[in-house]
Amino acid sequence: MDAGAGEEQAPRCARGDTLNTRRIAPGWWFVAPALTLITVFFLGPVIAAVGLSFTDFDLYALADPSAARWVGFRNYTRVLHEPLFWQALRNTLYFALVGGPLTVAASLGAALLVNARGLRWKGTARAVFFAPFVTTLVAVAIVWRYLYHPKYGLLNWMLGHVGIHQIDWLGDPRWAMPAIILMATWKNFGYNMLICIAGLQNIPRELHEAAALDGASPFQRFRHITIPMLAPTLFFVVVVTMIGYLQLFTEPYVMTAGGPLRATTSLVLYMYEEGFRWWRLGVAAAIAFLLFILIVAFTIIQRRISPKAAV
């Protein structure tokens, strides 16, 4: 503490903590640019959206803002009474609860494979697995639409060889969501794989060697060394994947436009339609906050059920 400055200040300022505030100031200056950006581009819009969700902002209000009315919780009650909301919620949960674990399992499997000792071409394998993640989804969707084609698609051709005939992947309400899940898993597992590889490489080799000396089988080593040591990584991967998957949008948007029979309409797609197709921005904002609550709830549940060490 700069004693001289403090003495000078003391007579003018009744309280001595003025100086402390000044001392904290440099820190604030360092974070100020980031805080300003967050306030302007994140906090501001979020607060505006909360406000919007309590109004009936729509096409008419777009032409003349005074045409927007305060409606309280009416948007929320309306959305909760809308069967399409519940269907979109079911679809989203279906996608997240089936696709999420599948993606994490695929990432872990690929990471173990790529990380295995004695494997050649590790770099190439990693690049190949990671490639789908960095490919534009629209390009991916075009290719996958061919793969899923009921008549000349590769997938049906292969299934035909094992005696399964003609699944209309994207046209049948029962198969459209599995088709989307399969594509999303393939597209996204590469990123999680990289994180898992990093986690695997952090496990000290000595542990495995010691266990092997004690006669532990490869599966026992996987079960009792790899999994517990990887738990924090896996927890991160699961949470991030779930948050991403609950916001499912692009895949159905480019592949099925939410159909057939609304079987692939996710919450975000439903919100997008309300907001940018019918231009009912108030309703869309309400859906956004319901989705936010859902994601927070999910993350809290995941924290609760994860082993203590992982969190």
């Binding site: 729509d58 008419y60 045409a67 046209g171 049948d172 057939p260 231009w279």
Partner: protein, 424 residues
């Protein structure tokens, strides 16, 4: 303005050129570029920058551009969108322009039902560019096998024809195909029976009206009597195959399928299909008045150049040529006199039908309302609700959608709809 001139100069033109920004959608957007080049040659000093936007993104792009003040000078607009953009005050009223150039854009040369879709509150906001309506595509061989010599023109004759055709079809087939997720069919039957769809200047649903109920009942009865399958168009993997196999003999659809049928039906069947105007309650009935118009944006600073471009695209010969490149049906009746259009047997039905089209009410909410009609019709078809229950809940849903419009009218921010239901 200064910025536009600046950009005009960077597009290797000289700095004094007027640059028109034009938006068009889908294949029309792509087909417009060569026409724009011709226009530039004919009008030195005006440069046209055409931006082709996919249909799926069109509506949203227009609205975001409106919010951001980045609308083009001229745009193609699906004619059901006109009331919406008129409500936003984004469109230039065109009555004065048309009155000045009656030779270039003569109102009487347009199909009246289609022209009416461009009028909101008695103000003209667009010039029809190409038109689109629904007619019946049918298997001539199956109909004659069933002893029907000419396509039916009344509901009673149609129903009778369906019953007869069903007997000569492969077992388990349905004579008609009316996909249950399409709004056009239930709306068409209602309008054929004389329904206005909305009442009180477009502020309330009028679907319990006996006229609409009559059309709706006819529609639902086709499914209940197994004359049409309760399938959505996503459930029908290949309509051309179904048609070729005789599992469908009559299909209500639009002009784009003329080219598709020519291309996709087997050669052996090419002489076994034809188009016919839609049957109505007592004689040929009305159909939808679809299509696209060309509009000038109110915010444009180059309206006289923009109008020049609109008149250029409205030329009947150019419209006939546009049909050859895109298959879009011309909005001007004189364009239909050219041999290509006049001699095509498949187009004759469209020409008759276009003289009998009815516009849907000119309210901004109409797109959502017709979707609700399709959903109510599907509930009735699938037996989840009776006809009266479906219509009652439809009216309630539509009234809820129009609540804001009622409030706006009371507030005096929007004038009542005079043009409502202005049928030819």
């Amino acid at each position: 303005m200064a910025l536009a001139v600046l950009c005009g100069s960077c597009a290797r033109a000289n700095g004094n050129d007027t640059e028109l920004r034009v938006w068009a959608f889908g294949s029309e957007g792509e087909a417009l570029a060569p026409i724009a080049r011709e226009f530039e040659r004919a009008n030195p000093g005006i440069r046209v920058r055409v931006q082709a936007i996919p249909w799926t993104a069109a509506h949203e792009k227009l609205l975001t551009a409106y919010v951001g003040g980045a609308l083009p000078d001229v745009a193609q607009l699906g004619n059901t969108w006109i009331p919406e953009f008129a409500a936003l005050n984004a469109l230039e009223p065109l009555d004065a322009y048309v009155a000045r150039d009656t030779l270039l854009v003569p109102r009487s040369d347009y199909f009246p039902g289609v022209l009416a879709t461009n009028v909101v509150d008695s103000v003209l906001y667009g010039v029809p560019w190409y038109v689109d309506t629904r007619v019946m595509f049918y298997r001539t061989d199956l109909l004659s096998k069933a002893g029907i010599t000419s396509p039916p023109t009344t509901w009673a004759a149609w129903r009778d024809a369906m019953a007869k055709v069903k007997k000569v079809q492969p077992p388990g087939s349905y004579p008609a195909l009316l996909p249950v997720n399409e709004w056009a069919q239930p709306v068409i039957f209602g309008m054929q029976a004389g329904a206005q769809l909305l009442s009180d200047h477009g502020t309330h649903g009028a679907f319990r009206d006996p006229k609409f109920r009559r059309g709706f009942e006819f529609y639902v009865s086709l499914f209940r009597d197994s004359l049409a399958p309760a399938l959505a168009n996503t459930q029908i993997s290949n309509v051309f195959q179904e048609f070729a196999a005789g599992r469908t003999a009559m299909y209500i659809t639009g002009p784009w399928n003329v080219g598709e049928f020519k291309k996709r039906l087997p050669v052996s069947l090419q002489n076994a299909w034809m188009t016919a105007p839609l049957p109505g309650p007592d004689s040929i009935g009305v159909s939808t008045a679809g299509g696209s118009s060309i509009v000038i944006m109110r915010g444009s600073a180059k309206k006289s150049a923009a109008w020049k471009f609109v008149t250029y695209m409205s030329d009947p010969m150019r419209q006939a040529k546009f049909y050859e490149t895109t298959g879009d049906l011309p909005a001007r009746r004189s364009a239909w006199e050219t041999p290509k259009l006049a001699n095509d047997p498949y187009l004759a039905a469209f020409r008759v039908q276009l003289g009998r089209v009815a516009p849907t009410p000119a309210v901004p909410e109409i797109e959502l309302i017709v979707q609700l009609v399709a959903q109510a019709a599907e509930r009735a078809v699938r037996g989840r609700q009776t006809i009266d229950e479906a219509l009652e809940s439809l009216d309630a849903e539509v009234d809820a959608v129009l609540e804001k419009r009622r409030w706006m009218l009371e507030r005096g921010k929007s004038r009542p709809l005079v043009a409502l239901g202005a049928t030819p």
